[in-house]
């Protein structure tokens, strides 16, 4: 009997993040330019598995995806039980930078989706020199809230079912059922209050309006891609953000929602391969630190 092994390998890494010892789970596949992928709020790194199994990508890129603390197989930091989890901009940026530092990734590409996409914009503003290129999926400087996050963490409502039900409408109707439901399964597996805590960054702490003009794409190229069915980060939100960034490349993805890499991997592939091709082809002048 032949075992069908995927090329993805998972490891645990211990590192100092924001002054605390943390234990992060991450997966990786491939070799070449490091490509660090940031999952959406309330989910985990499994969203990126299709990229990691795509030889067209992994023969040029070392694709890595970690589970943020409190998410997936990463351990929440000691003492987590004593306070409400709330992600902040500075804390989130520190997770990404600590991961890249600890793994000694040399000027990686960072691609983030949703809250990861928002963080990519923050990295472009504050830490551009550390990165070869940045890719924001479903990213904008701000987007209008569409529900009250207090519903997400109440003892009388099944949080995991609600988290999945809320985000189910962010998936395009054309996305294959198997990947729609796998994406929702990730949401059903989040810890209590974690999705809500991530959205603190999204809704309260991470408003980038008024700061986007500081992004210099000559220093670090930036790509923004948003699905047309995403009504959390609407195409108009991304286009408004992109209009403030000279040199940014922006695409609106047809028949895609808020989770391009996990809800419709084949369709997303058609959009992301040309972006990765451009990143590979960056001249040395645009990749200097």
């Amino acid at each position: 009997m032949t075992v069908e092994l995927e090329p993805i390998q998972g490891r645990y890494a211990r590192m100092e993040i924001g002054g605390r010892r943390q234990r992060l789970y991450f997966e990786e596949s491939g070799a070449g330019i490091p490509l660090v992928c940031l999952h959406t709020a309330g989910a985990d790194g499994r969203q990126w598995r299709h990229l990691m199994c795509d030889p067209e990508i992994t023969r040029h890129f070392r694709v890595l995806a970690f589970d943020m603390p409190w998410h997936g197989k990463s351990t929440p930091p000691e003492g987590w039980e004593g306070a409400e989890y709330r992600l902040t901009t500075v804390g989130y940026a520190e997770i990404v930078r600590a991961f890249c530092r600890t793994l000694e990734l040399e000027r990686p590409v960072v691609m983030g989706c949703s809250i990861g996409g928002r963080l990519v914009l923050h990295l472009a503003i504050e830490h551009a020199a550390e990165f070869r290129a940045l890719v924001g999926l479903e990213a904008a400087d701000f987007q209008a809230p569409w529900y009250d996050t207090d519903w997400l963490d109440r003892p009388d409502i099944h949080g995991s079912r609600l988290c999945a039900a809320l985000v189910s409408g962010l998936i395009a109707p054309q996305s294959p059922a198997v990947f729609r439901h796998e994406t929702l399964w990730h949401y059903m597996q989040g810890g209590p209050g974690v999705f809500k805590g991530d959205l603190h960054f999204y809704r309260v702490d991470g408003d980038l309006r008024g700061r986007i003009g500081r992004i210099d794409t000559k220093r670090c190229p930036l790509f923004l891609l948003t699905g047309e069915y995403d009504y959390s980060c609407e195409p108009a939100d991304t286009l408004r953000t992109a209009a403030q960034i000279p040199g940014v490349e922006v695409a609106i993805m047809k028949e895609v929602g808020h989770f391009p890499m996990s809800e419709n991997p084949a369709r997303f592939r058609g959009y992301i391969l040309p972006v990765l091709e451009k990143i590979r082809a960056l001249p040395p002048s645009s990749v200097q630190a």
Partner: protein
């Protein structure tokens, strides 16, 4: 919780239009669609509630008992109580029921964000059974060749 809108024509504005009549006739088939879906009923087995669903100018009162639509009564009915209400224009509902809805018309909360759908009252039963209600209210898509939500 009788509502003035029920007397003045609802969120569709004015008297019932052809779109209202078409959408209401479509929605009236909901009990048969829902109760034939054994998995939907199973998922709603802990849910019993009364809600108002307004299809343009036409209010419908749904009595849900253990996940089944026990009754769907066309209103208005004066002083008929409900736990929560979902209101949208006939045009918005018909867009939502398209086999492949357009972006922004494809989900109840997408419509709500655009201001095309209003949620009122005690939303706890709705939020506790959100996927059930999304699937329930998308069931008429099957009449237009779709597969529900």
């Amino acid at each position: 919780m009788a509502d003035d809108r029920e007397k003045s024509g609802g969120s569709g504005g004015g008297a019932a239009s052809d779109a209202d009549a078409h959408a209401a006739a479509t929605f009236a088939q909901l009990p048969a669609l829902a109760n034939a879906d054994a998995w939907l009923v199973q998922r709603g087995r802990h849910l019993s509630t009364e809600c108002l669903i307004e299809i343009g100018a036409v209010p419908f009162y749904a009595s849900i008992a253990a996940g089944r639509i026990a009754a769907l009564e066309r209103g208005p009915q004066l002083m008929r109580p409900w736990r929560f209400a979902i209101r949208a224009s006939a045009r918005s509902w018909l867009g939502f029921w398209q086999p492949v809805p357009l972006p922004g018309s494809h989900d109840l909360l997408a419509l709500a964000k655009r201001g095309e759908l209003r949620l009122e009252g005690d939303l706890a039963p709705l939020m506790a059974n959100l996927q059930y209600f999304k699937d329930l209210l998308a069931a008429p898509r099957r009449l237009f060749g779709g597969v529900g939500s």
